[in-house]
């Protein structure tokens, strides 16, 4: 169970949002909507613990995420605005390094994870030579290596083509139907099939 209580975020003199409360159970998706600059990314960063909220707390299974940080991070995968790919490493090298960063992973070969996101033949291309959409696909491939139940995704399908988006929707649906949780922001309307989707609007 993932819970946010009375979160408030202040940037400079602006109050981006205040009194954000929600609870997500296993098997639910939370889609965060809002205009540009409404604080979606700031909210996600607070939920991961990268940023501190002005007030409020975030709980993972009833424990504040700052208190038992390690077990929270073992259960979390975060994909931010930036892809987190090192420019001079190839797609597969980047993915291998990401796997080591995880607390635990499944035994799926890195090669296969890249195939699943449609990057067969691009394994050994350096990240800076890939197109924006291909880079995003390498980043999304991290999801399939991971066994973490909680996914926090910031605009995951930016620059991804139509086929990629529908594959992504499938991945999310499968994850959630297997008892995972997803929190994501997006400007596109995504269809997660049978998965239960909640939504939160920031104004």
């Amino acid at each position: 169970m993932f819970q946010a209580k009375e979160l408030e975020c202040v940037k400079g003199y602006d109050c981006l949002f205040t009194n954000i409360n929600f609870t997500i159970q296993a098997g639910e998706i939370l889609q965060i909507q809002g205009t540009n600059g409404s604080g979606k990314t700031s909210l996600l960063r607070i939920l991961t613990g990268l940023s501190q909220p002005e007030t409020g707390e975030v709980f993972w299974n009833g424990t504040n995420i700052d208190i038992d940080r390690e077990s929270y991070l073992e259960n979390l995968i975060y994909i931010g605005h930036t892809n987190g790919l090192k420019a001079e490493l190839s797609a597969i090298e980047n993915l291998q390094l990401s796997r080591q960063y995880l607390g635990q992973s499944n035994d799926k070969p890195t090669q296969q994870a890249l195939e699943e996101v449609g990057l067969t033949g691009y394994e050994h291309i350096l990240a800076h030579q890939l197109s924006a959409g291909q880079k995003r696909r390498v980043t999304l491939a991290r999801l399939s290596l991971n066994t973490a139940p909680l996914w926090i995704l910031d605009e995951p399908v930016t620059a991804i083509d139509v086929d990629g988006v529908s594959a992504f929707e499938k991945t999310i649906e499968t994850h959630v139907l297997n008892g995972g949780m997803v929190i994501l922001t997006t400007h596109q309307s995504l269809n997660f099939g049978k998965a239960k989707t909640l939504s939160l609007s920031l104004t």
Partner: protein, 228 residues
């Protein structure tokens, strides 16, 4: 099946990846080294070929050049990783981030500090450093430059989020570099006149060991502040 990733595996993977990156991006590797060589060469030209003057200046010049070129190299330590988001992923890894950061600092020293030490005998030759001081010079650089990389990392961590932070970084770390400079140069100085330099060398070793103990934690905290 689930694979549990151990910290030592992650540490080695980070080490490996960073070494590979350094190999593929050689300009970052050569710039500080070129700077080191140029300072020494220009100094020799500027002061003139008189060997008594040069050899008197040599310990100080070699150490100042080494210090400035480590400072120049520092900027690359976290800059790219901050911009491409992989620093964020490192901090969000359940492994101790200080250990992964230490791996990055070790690689940074290996690719910027170590070449500097290897080239230093040639610089010493140019600066007419007396023969009996070569050993001490190598040892003092070997013991002192790790402290520069480690202490510098804290400053880089703090300024990672700031664009064009070069000046701020210098202001932050140069005061902390000064003790290393004083004892490094004085070790070489002592051995040029035939005195024992062991006191200074022990102190340099102590600086490096102490920074090895504390700076990875401080750097990790500094990066968390920068990312906030």
């Amino acid at each position: 099946m689930m694979l549990k990733q151990s910290l030592s595996q992650a540490f080695l993977a980070e080490l490996h990846a960073d070494l590979r990156l350094a190999y593929r991006n050689k300009s970052a590797l050569f710039n500080p080294l070129m700077f080191f060589i140029m300072v020494a060469v220009l100094f020799a030209f500027g002061v003139g070929p008189e060997s008594t003057v040069l050899s008197k200046l040599a310990p100080g010049v070699i150490w100042v050049a080494a210090l400035l070129s480590s400072l120049l190299a520092l900027d690359h330590l976290f800059r790219e990783d901050y911009e491409n988001g992989s620093l964020e992923q490192l901090i969000l890894s359940p492994h101790a981030s200080s250990a992964l950061i230490l791996a990055k600092i070790i690689v940074h020293w290996l690719v910027t500090g170590l070449p500097l030490i290897l080239i230093s005998p040639f610089i010493a030759m140019m600066m007419q450093l007396p023969g009996q001081a070569y050993g001490t010079m190598l040892l003092s650089l070997l013991l002192g430059t790790p402290a520069l990389s480690l202490i510098g990392a804290v400053g880089v961590g703090l300024t990672a989020g700031i664009k064009r932070s070069g000046l701020l970084l210098s202001l932050l770390v140069i005061p902390l570099f000064i003790p290393v400079l004083i004892f490094g140069a004085s070790a070489v100085q002592a051995s040029t006149i035939g005195l024992s330099a062991s006191g200074q060398l022990y102190l340099l070793a102590a600086f490096s060991l102490l920074s090895l103990l504390f700076t990875p934690f401080a750097t990790s905290a500094a990066i968390k502040i920068s990312l906030n």
